[in-house]
Amino acid sequence: MMRFVWATLLLVLALPARADVEIQEITTPGGINAWLVEERSIPFTALEIRFRGGASLDSADKQGATGLMVSLLEEGAGDLDARAFARETESLAASFNYRLASDAVRISARFLSENRDQAVQLLRDSLIRPRFDDDAIERVRAQLLSSLRSDLKDPRAIAAKRFAAMVHGNHPYARPQDGTIETVTALTRDDIVAAHQGALARDRVYVGAVGDIGPDELSALLDDLLGELPETGAPLPGPAPVSLDGGTHVVTFDTPQSVAVFGQPGINRDDPDFFALFVLDHILGGGSFESRLMQEVREKRGLTYGVYSYLVDKDQAQLWQGSVASANDRVAQAVQVIRDEWKKLRDGGVTAEELQDAKTYLTGAYPLRFDGNGPIANIIVAMQMEGLPVDYIATRNDKVNDVTLEQVNRVAAERLDPDRLTFVVVGQPEGLDQTAD
């Protein structure tokens, strides 16, 4: 009886929750590829546009140029200065969000069906005809510098910056994506124009659209929106070094709770062991209360409010990272418990029950991600950037369920690397064995 219930449960959960996540692949007459999910029940569209490259396009002396450029896209375009552009956007109740990531420029747009054409014209101007007016540059530069100054005194930002600098050598990944006070202060309008030319091009654009729009309408919309962008952009960087010495590095900072980030080498998504490692990471520290790190560091010992691990799959480097924060007099113990768990998992592997629980959770949680037009647009654009096929949503849970105990434990033994597990701790940790720098 129980066995039957279990089988039924898995069957139900293995199906994507949205039976109507039906992706249409489009190629516009102008040659732009896009994925569309028609969802007519609410009269708006979520449009997600990504350009590969992002902050990794910046050279060392111009670090932050792409970020400043991205922040300026909505600060005046075409015939409208920054204030007029904002007034127009607000009067249409559209929202355009322009963000920088290490490997991409991400644009999230949301607009009503009733004034879609006008909203798209505004968005188009911001992408194709940004003004980069001098007063806007200075205003946004001041905001960016304010934020960079704050980062210098934020233990999380300090930890992330130090970790990246230690791991990635001279690659752009080693540098803060928004630049430094020095580089941002020195950026000129020409640098911003060059960053715009380099970052927003048709050879690197990905589009996901979800909502009240059909394929023909979307096709015309995209040719209008993106057709005048340059054909090619700046060259993308090559592979990044991943150098991890296995040490514990301390950045002294006067604050009561130490913040630690840690990491070891990760895995490429197209590696045959990817799903086994993904499941393994979930068991280790993948964001659920049931993870080993959460159980050992928080639930049993009360050493932290949260401890997590996660796979970082950038275009040019793969890491397996994590974070924890503990009071200065307790962080040494937290670090030791994490190191011990790393070894224990490598040597002892996971149990059949842990594997089954992880599969049930991961396959059940997957459909819960598809909870709105915006989230679905995000998922389908990310799938394209990862090079995943259009039927991936329907097969993804099978890939999780196909992971065997033997495979996950082989991968644990091969991939978990306590000797390269490297920590950066920011704070005033007590009793911590630290690596001399």
């Binding site: 929750a17 607000e90 009503l112 001041a142 709770q257 009360g302 909870d371």
Partner: protein, 443 residues
Amino acid sequence: MLRLTAFVLALYALAFPALARDNVTSFSLDNGMDVVVIEDHRASVVVHMVWYRAGSADEPPGSSGVAHFLEHLLFRGTENLAPGEFSSTVARNGGSDNAFTSYDYTAYYQRVAADRLGLMMQMEADRMVNLKLTESDVSTEREVIIEERNQRVENDPSALFREQKNAAQYLNHRYGVPIIGWRHEMEALDQAKARAFYDRYYSPNNAILIVAGDVQPDEVRALAEKHYGPIPANPDLPERARPQEPPQMAERRMVFRDARVAQPYVSRSYLAPERDSGAQERAAALETLSEILGGGATSVLNETLQFDQKVAVFTGAYYGGTSLDDTDFSFIVVPAPGVTLEQAEAALDETLATFLETGVDSEQLERIKMQMRASQVYGRDSVESLANRYGRALTQGLTIEDVHDWPDILQSVTAKDVMAAARDLLDRRRSVTGYLMGEEVTQ
């Protein structure tokens, strides 16, 4: 424009207009438990929430943080579930769960496939009455909440500043005490204090069940009667009357210094009335005022201080209208380099004074109303945020009718209403001004 989220004063409940009312059904169980069902059949997913009309402002003096501590302890086992078994069962059913505590409410929720709803109810009903704790679990969890305070507050000078500033704003009301608790009182929290709060406030007649997603109201009613129905009402549930704030007679000012502050700013808040059931007009005018003065790129403060005078890198206005008792309306100005906090504050006051003279720009008011209308469309995209909207309203003195009326009340706000609300609000005698600064530099 850069989003300087680090400077945002507080995460106030956004007052989005409501969903078309035909997707919402509500009823009560015989034991007094209120039930709200929000249907959204786009995905076979359900959000199951239980909200208690009890938050940190309901705590007894000296036990600050106990509402939040109890929220953590509800995951530490019952007579029927081992410590951690609640969350692990949710996870084994492919769902995720969590909980949150505020001044006026504590809420528990799970997101899970729709056919798991009965199991969620069974477990949530169990921990409404069957909490069972061990001393060692209680002391470990106390360490966890102290690390949570370290992470959220002690490590962040802005959070310490906000805590001090709230304490200055509220002389008598518990809104002046942090939700997470004062550290010295958190260190003294124990099982007896948590148990007392639990026995007093956790009962079906003090709870609201919200189920949102791919469900039918009849099905929810049957499951709720089965799982929550047998729990008796608590006849001793106290009336919810907290010490109220006296009229503020004198302006209060404070300076908070911390070496970790890289970007100083000035914050100003005023005591303000909240949304009252059946009488939300004044709150709607204040909500609109906050949008006009500091809601977006074309707000009065943004236009004046960032674009015209170039004395600020960030400005904002916030109104916490959804609140059980009197609330606050606040401004923040982050000065541009070379501008002192005194100059930034003077520029804020001058802008407010000018606004009181010149009044509302009618085109701006139209834009704001258009955005409020549109948020009814966009809001339908997230059933979870709809569920939160009802939960917040119903635990903070409002009714479902009030939630449904709110969009129309917002649309009917006139420029005259806004100015009347502004004149009433902007009285320095009822304000607190705080400066957040780095350490003084001595030569």
